[in-house]
Amino acid sequence: MFCNTSKEIGGMGHSLKRKEDARFTQGKGHYVDDVKLPGMLYMDIVRSPYAYAKILNIDASKALEIPGVLAVITGRDLEKYNLHWMPTLMSDTQMVLPTDTVMYYAQEVCAVIATERYIAADGVAAVEVEYEPMKAIVDAHKALDPGMPVLRPDKGKTDNHIWHWEAGDREATDKLFANAEVVVKEQVYIPRIHVASIETCGCVADFDPVEAHLTMYMTTQAPHAIRTVIALVAGHVGLSEEKVRVIASDIGGGFGGKVPVYPGYVIAIAASVLIGKPVKWIEDRMENLQADSFARDYDMTCELAATKDGKIQGLRIKTLADHGYTDAAANPSKYPAGMFSICTGSYDYGVAFTEMDAVYTNKPPGGVAYRCSFRVTEAVHAIERMVDRLALEIGKDSAQLRMENFIKKEQFPYHSPLGWEYDSGDYGPALQMAMDIVGYDELRKEQAEKRKNGQLMGIGICSFTEVVGAGPSKDFDILGIKMFDSAEIRVHPTGKAIARFGTKSQGQGHETTYAQIIAQELGIPAEHIHIEEGDTDTAPYGLGTYASRSTPTAGAAAAVAARKLRDKARKIAAYLLEVSEEDLEWEVGKFFVKGAPEKSKTIQELVFASYTNHPQGMEAGFEATHYYDPPNLTFPFGSYICVVDIDPETGSIKIRRFVAIDDCGNIINPMIVQGQIHGGLTQGLAPAMFEELIYDEDGNMLNGSFMDYLVPTAVESPSWETGHTITPCPHHPIGAKGVGESPTVGAPPAIANAIIDALSHLGVTHIDIPITPQKVWNILVEKGVIEAV
C-alpha cells in the first residue's frame, strides 16, 4: 500500500482515527432536527390514503380552530405563486402540492403550520379531505395496456410511456444470438427498495422578509445544486441566488436518498416566506419510507450468448423501468438509465445490446441512485446472475468460467462494447484471493458430499466492475451544471490550514480523508487541516456527494489545489535559499537544495514567508482553489464469495461466510475504506434477503415502517471478511477510484448466486431478490423436496 509519510503527518495509507468522531460519540453532532431558531414554527403534512384519487374538497376549518395552528397550505395556495409544480432532475415535473389529483399513496395533500410539533400533528388529524378514488396503475407491466388511464396528460402524453433508451449494436447482437451455440435467458427483477438512512429527511426554512434572504438548513447531499434549484424554481417570487444560503451540517446517512428536492422542502420555504418565520419540517419514518424517492425497480429480461465450452460472446438485456408518477431519478442529464450500460461487466466479449422503456405508475417518484453510481447495481446483478446461469447450463465451475472470460490486465484501457473506456483492472488476482481465503475447492467438495444426504449449501461469486466518479464535463451534467467538483485550501501563517469542498459527507469521513490527501501533498499534519463542507456561502461550488464521486472528483481537486500551493512554495523556497527552482527537491514537508540537504525550508517556514517575506511581485498569502474536471470515470472492481447453508425444512438461510476482495486503487485511509465496505455489504445483504417496498393491488404500501421494512440488525448481518488488491487509477492525481458503493453493488448477486447454487441441483436457475425463507420453501415444495401440510 502507498504510504510514505510519517504517522505525525498522516498522509495517504494511514488508518487515521476520524476527526469527526469526537462530536459524534459525545452527542454533539449537529443534525437538522437539532436546529432551533427563535419563533420557529413546525410543519406537518396531510398525506393521501389513496394511490390515485381526485381531491374533491379540503376542509381545514377544524384544524384552524386548534389553538396554535396558524395555517393550512394547499396546492391552490401555491398555485397563486406558480409554486405548485417543480422540475425533477430528469426534466420531468413533480407536484409540490396537488390542486386536483393525488398520484400515489402517502403523497402530500396539504400542510399544517403550527407553533409546536404536537399541535401541527393535531392539525393534520383534524383536516378533512374528500377524495374520489380511481383505479390505480400499480403493475408496471400493465401501464402500457390499452384502456389504462393516462397518468400524465399534463406532459402531453397519450399513454404512460416515459422514454425509450438503448445502447449497443442491436443488429450485430441479434445476429450473434441467432447463431450462438448456447443462449441462456432469465427474467431478473430488482425490487423497489428504500435507502432508509437512520436520519429521515427534513429542513428548517428561515426566510428573512427584511433582507429577502433565505437560509435553508437541510439534509442534503448536494447543497450547492439545491441552492441553484431553489433559485431556478422560486426566482420568480424573489429568491435570488445570492440571497439563498443552504446549510447542510451533519447528515445521518444519505445513500442517494438525500439528493432530490422533496415537496416538503418547497412547502416549508413557501410557508416561511408567507408567514415570515422559520419553519421546521422533519419527516417521520413512515413518511420517509412511503413518500421519499425509491431506488431500483428494474425488470430485466437478460440473455447471454456463448460457445458451448464457455466463451462468452454477447449480452442482450431488455428492461422495464417503473418510475412512479414522475421521473425523479437522480441521474446525469444525458443518462436516463444511469450507467446501466456497464452491464457487460468484467468480461471480454464482442457485442452487446441493451434497451429500456420507462413507464409511469401510481407510485412515489424516483429512482435514486441508492449507494450505487446510477443503476450500476441493477447492471451488475444482471451480468453476474447470467454468468452463473451460463456456468450451470454448460456444467462449468462458475469461478473457472469467470477466470476464463475476464478482461486481461494487458487489455486495459479496455473499450467495452457499450462504449465505456475501463481505465484499469486486474480481475483474476482479486477472485483468486477471495477463493484462497474462503477455501473454494474444499467448499465445493463439502457441497458435493452434503448434496448426497439432502443438505443444502451454496457458494456464490460476484466479480463486479463499477463505474463511478461522475464525471467528465463533456458528458456529465445535472440540470446543465457540469459534474466537476471543487476544493479550496487556505493555509494560515502558522502553517495550519482550512479546506473547503463542494461535496458533503454523510458519514464517509471527509473531515479525515481530505485532510490526509492535503497532508500527503503538502506535508502539513492532517490533524492541523480543518475540513469544511455544506455551507454554500463559504464552500466552493460543487455537485455534492453521491455516486462514489467525492474521492474521484473533490479528492482529486484537493490534490491539484495542494500541488498549486507546492509550486508556490517552491518559488518562495528558491527566493529564500537563493537558488533556482530547478535546484530544489521536494521531500514530504520541505524543499531542500539538491546535493545540500542541510539547506532546506519546511512547508511551515515557506507558508509563513508567504505572509511575511514573500518575493516582490508575488501574490501574498497561501491559498489555492481547484475545480477538477475528471478526464474519465473510475472503475473500481472486486470479487466476492458468499457461502450459505439452507434449512431444507423451513427454507431459512444462514450466511456462513462472506469474503469481499475490493480494488479501489490507492487507499487514502484503510480503516475508513474497510468501514465503507462493511457497511455497504450489509446494505447489499438487505435487498438480497430482506428489503422490498411492497404494494397491494390498489397501490397502498404495505410495509411503510421499520416494523415491516426489514433493515438488517447485527444478528442478520454476518461477520464480514475483507481484503484488497491495489490497481491504481491511471488518470486520478492520487490513483484512487472511490469505494463506497462497490459492496452494495457486489453483495446482492453474490448472495443470490449462493442461494441459487444451493438449490441448482434441483433444477433451480433463478430466484428474484429478496430471497426469503418463504420463497425458498415454495421452491422446496414445488421440487418435491418437502411436502406442504
Binding site: A22, T25, T200, G253, G507, G509, G675, G679, A714, V715
Partner: protein, 164 residues
Amino acid sequence: MANITVHINGVPQTLDVEPRLLLVHLIRENLNLTGTHVGCDTSSCGACTVLMDGRSVKSCTVYAVQANGKEVTTIEGLAHAGQLHPLQEGFKEEHGLQCGFCTPGMIMRCVDLLERNPNPTEEEIRWGISGNLCRCTGYNNIVKAVEYAAQKMQAAEVPAETVA
C-alpha cells in the same frame, strides 16, 4: 399538564409537561440535549436509546411522565470529569460509527449491555444490540468497539479489586 421531576444526567429537572410528551422530546426539545435522536417512531431502530434507572430504554416509546422520579442518562451525561467512557473511546478507536446518527443510542444500549455482561461474546454483543439499527457500519466495527470497551473496563477493574 403534569408536574414531573426527572433527574437528567444527575441534575433534577422539574417541569410541567403534557402527559403525551414523549421522553425523547422532553430530552431534545425541553432540555436541549440533542444527542438523543429519533429514527423510526416504532421502537424499532434504537436511535433514541437512553438509560432510565440504569437500564436502556427507547425514549420514543416512553412518556415523559413515566420517567417521573427516575434517573435518566443521555449520551451527554456519559463522560465523567472530561474522561470519555470506554465505549465512547472504543467507537472512535475501532471505527464503530460513520454518520453518527445511531451512535448515541447504540452507545447507551451498550452501556447497559456491558453492565449486565462485562465480557460478552461476539454473538452476545450482536444479540445485545439487535434493537439498534445502524445503516452505515455493517456492525463489524461496532462489535469490535464493544469488545474494546469491555477489555478496557475489565482492565480498569482488576487493580481496584487487587487493592481491595
